[in-house]
Every structure is written in structure tokens, then in C-alpha cells.
């Protein structure tokens, strides 16, 4: 009997370590929100390049409350009939903004000199249900948009209901299937152009890479892959294909986060090369340089800016 006991003891400890390495399917992490599925790729590949001068001044009155003043001068594009020519109209505007950040309530408002208001609200109704509202209100009739989202965060899933003006209803759902893989889907119904659509998405992430894929009945198929080479460098690539309009775009980009600056650049299969540099000149003072060269349309855009606070 004494001979049998030690082998049983060792067998039990071996079995326990094997169970710890196996996946605990009842305790999966919460997935990223459906609209942020490809957030790492967006940071590298869809940096906000601008044209002209941009000056942002933000003044904090409080931990939670701050005001911002923003001046933008430069040409803005106007949609033109022929796709080859771009019409640009020089404009200058000033935007006043107020922000309030609370753990439970976030309010952001931006008002331009021509009366356009851009409002965002995020309120935690309970600790699992979040209401988000987003609106662009203009003085011109029928040009305003508003969207309300109700997000519910479960233990390993997220569900969202969207309601928009002009009768837009959408719902998304995303679920963690393994600690690294999450799958999700969305449906939407738009009242004004009587359209409805359904889409599926998948995301696989590890410490070093993130890969996502999305398919929608509106015709888009998008796949992207981001490789994190180190803390400072990450490379991303993206492929988008629309099977209804037969458009294909592929792009490759990089994101270097250095001590005093951050450089993001990308090159496209449409012949567009762009880059954005954000340099920290001193505490609270950031200098921005943006360039976008469209060799196919021969449209070159350069911008510079300063951000204070």
C-alpha cells in the first residue's frame, strides 16, 4: 500500500499542471468592441493627414473640465463630377470646444463659426450598459446626423444596438471563442435608401501580432495584419476588396513611437504615399507635419500644425 501512494501523488500533480496549461473556456477575456476590431491597423494606416495650418490650444480648468480653441486654415476638398479633378476651396475656421471627463460621464462638444455642432456623449448607465451618442448638427436643413448606441458588456461578449436618424437601426455582437480568437457579426437596416446588410468579422491576436478579417453584404471584404516588432515599431498591412464595385486597395504602413516623436507612414496601391510626424518640442507643445502624395491624381497635400496643452 505504501508503494502505491507516491506514484498516485506524482500523477496528480502532473495532471494539475496540464489542466492549468489548457484553456479555461468559462473564463475568457472580454473582446474588443466591434467597431474597434481593427484599431491597431487604423493607428498605422489611417492617420489623420491634413492640409494647411492647424493650431490647437487646449486649456484645462480642472481635472475633469477643459476648453479647447482650434484654428484651421487650408483648402478643403469639394466633391466634383469627374473623378480625375479635385476642386479645392480655401477656407479658414475657428472651433471652440468644451470637454468634461468623469469616470461615469463624458461630454465633448465642438462648435464652429458657421454654426456646426459636433457633440459626443458617453454615459455609463450601469456598470455593464453604456450609452453613447454622437451628433453633427448643422444649420442647413436635412444635413444633420445623430446616432445613439447602447453597448452591453458581458463577461466574454459584447452586444451593441445602434439607432440613427433617418431610420437607421443596427446591432453588433462579438464573442471571445478562445483567449486569442474572437468572432462577431452585425446587421443593419437603413430606412432612407431601403437597404439592409449583414456582416461577419473575426480577430486573432497574440502579443506580437493581430490579424482581423471582415466580410459584409454591402460588398466589402477587408483583411488586415499588424506585426508588433518591438515596443517602438509596428508594421501593418491591409487589403480591401469590394466584390460589387470591383475596387481593390492594398496598403502597407509603419508606426514608429520614439521618445520625442511619433512617425506614421503608409503607401497604397492607388499610388498614394503619406506620412505624419508628431514631435514633442517640450512639455505640452507638439509639432505636427503631414504629407500626402497622390501620384495617380497628381494631388499633393502638405500640412503643418502646433498643439498646445
Amino acid at each position: 500500500m505504501a508503494d502505491l501512494l507516491p506514484p498516485l501523488g506524482t500523477a496528480q500533480t502532473d495532471g494539475k499542471t496540464k489542466v492549468d496549461e489548457k484553456v479555461d473556456y468559462s473564463n475568457l477575456p472580454c473582446p474588443v468592441p466591434y467597431e474597434e476590431l481593427h484599431r491597431e491597423a487604423i493607428m498605422s494606416l489611417k492617420a489623420d493627414n491634413f492640409e494647411g495650418l492647424r493650431f490647437d490650444f487646449s486649456k484645462g480648468l480642472n481635472q475633469k473640465f477643459s476648453l479647447s480653441h482650434s484654428v484651421m486654415m487650408g483648402p478643403t476638398e469639394v466633391p466634383s463630377q469627374s473623378p480625375d479633378t479635385t476642386i479645392k476651396i480655401p477656407t479658414a475656421h475657428y472651433e471652440f470646444g468644451a470637454n468634461y471627463f468623469d469616470p461615469k460621464l463624458m461630454l465633448i462638444g465642438r462648435l464652429m463659426t458657421d454654426g456646426r455642432l459636433n457633440a459626443r456623449v458617453k454615459a455609463d448607465l450601469t456598470d455593464r450598459l453604456v450609452l453613447k451618442a454622437n451628433g453633427q448638427l448643422t444649420n442647413e436643413p436635412h444635413m444633420s446626423h445623430a446616432m445613439f448606441n447602447f453597448d452591453y458588456m458581458g463577461s466574454d461578449y459584447r452586444a451593441q444596438l445602434q439607432l440613427g436618424n433617418s431610420a437607421l437601426i443596427g446591432a453588433t455582437y462579438i464573442q471571445s471563442v478562445t483567449p486569442r480568437l474572437s468572432l462577431g457579426g452585425e446587421v443593419f437596416w437603413a430606412g432612407v435608401p431601403r437597404k439592409s446588410g449583414i456582416g461577419y468579422a473575426a480577430r486573432y491576436d497574440t502579443d506580437k501580432m493581430v490579424a482581423t478579417a471582415q466580410v459584409a453584404s454591402t460588398g466589402t471584404i477587408a483583411m488586415n495584419y499588424v506585426q508588433k516588432i518591438s515596443d517602438k515599431v509596428s508594421l501593418a498591412t491591409d487589403f480591401a476588396y469590394n466584390y460589387l464595385s470591383r475596387d481593390v486597395v492594398a496598403s502597407v504602413g509603419y508606426d514608429y513611437i520614439l521618445r520625442q516623436s511619433r512617425v506614421r507612414g503608409k503607401i497604397d496601391s492607388n499610388g498614394v504615399a503619406s506620412a505624419l510626424l508628431e514631435e514633442r518640442l517640450s512639455m505640452g507643445l507638439n509639432f505636427l507635419l503631414s504629407a500626402e502624395l497622390d501620384h495617380k491624381k497628381k494631388d499633393y497635400k502638405f500640412g503643418f500644425g502646433l498643439t498646445v496643452g
Partner: protein
């Protein structure tokens, strides 16, 4: 207020349409009324938000702790 829908004229206009279609016309007129009232209230809500959202944020911000002074709100520095 010119934007308010005229209820009385509508009721009289749809009355003498015929007894067989009276139930359908009353339910469709109810739908029309609901649509008119929701459009009117949405328009007023949009104007109220456009004028009042930024003042609302400023009021909530000025009441939060630690209370900032009015001078800090207005000065450019």
C-alpha cells in the same frame, strides 16, 4: 408659432370621405398626426441641442470639484 401642425383643419378635411373607409382613414390620420408631432419635436430638440449643448457642458464643468473661477473660463491663458 407657424411650425405647430393645424389639427382642426385636418380633422374636418378627412371626415366626409365615406363610411366604409372611415376606420382606415382615422388610423392613417392618427399615423399622420403622430408623424407630424414627432417631426415637430425632433426639430425643436435639434435646435435646443445646437444652442444648449456647449452651455450645458460649461455649467456641468463649472460645478465640478474643484470649482474653477469665472476668470479662468474667460481668460485666454
Amino acid at each position: 408659432m407657424a411650425a405647430k401642425p393645424c389639427l382642426k383643419i385636418k380633422g374636418r378635411g378627412k371626415g366626409p370621405k365615406g363610411s366604409s373607409s372611415s376606420t382606415t382613414s382615422s388610423s392613417s390620420s392618427k399615423n399622420e398626426l403622430v408623424k407630424e408631432w414627432t417631426n415637430w419635436s425632433l426639430k425643436k430638440a435639434k435646435v435646443a441641442t445646437q444652442y444648449g449643448f456647449i452651455p450645458l457642458i460649461i455649467i456641468i464643468g463649472m460645478k465640478s470639484d474643484p470649482k474653477p473661477h469665472l476668470f479662468q473660463l474667460l481668460s485666454p491663458v
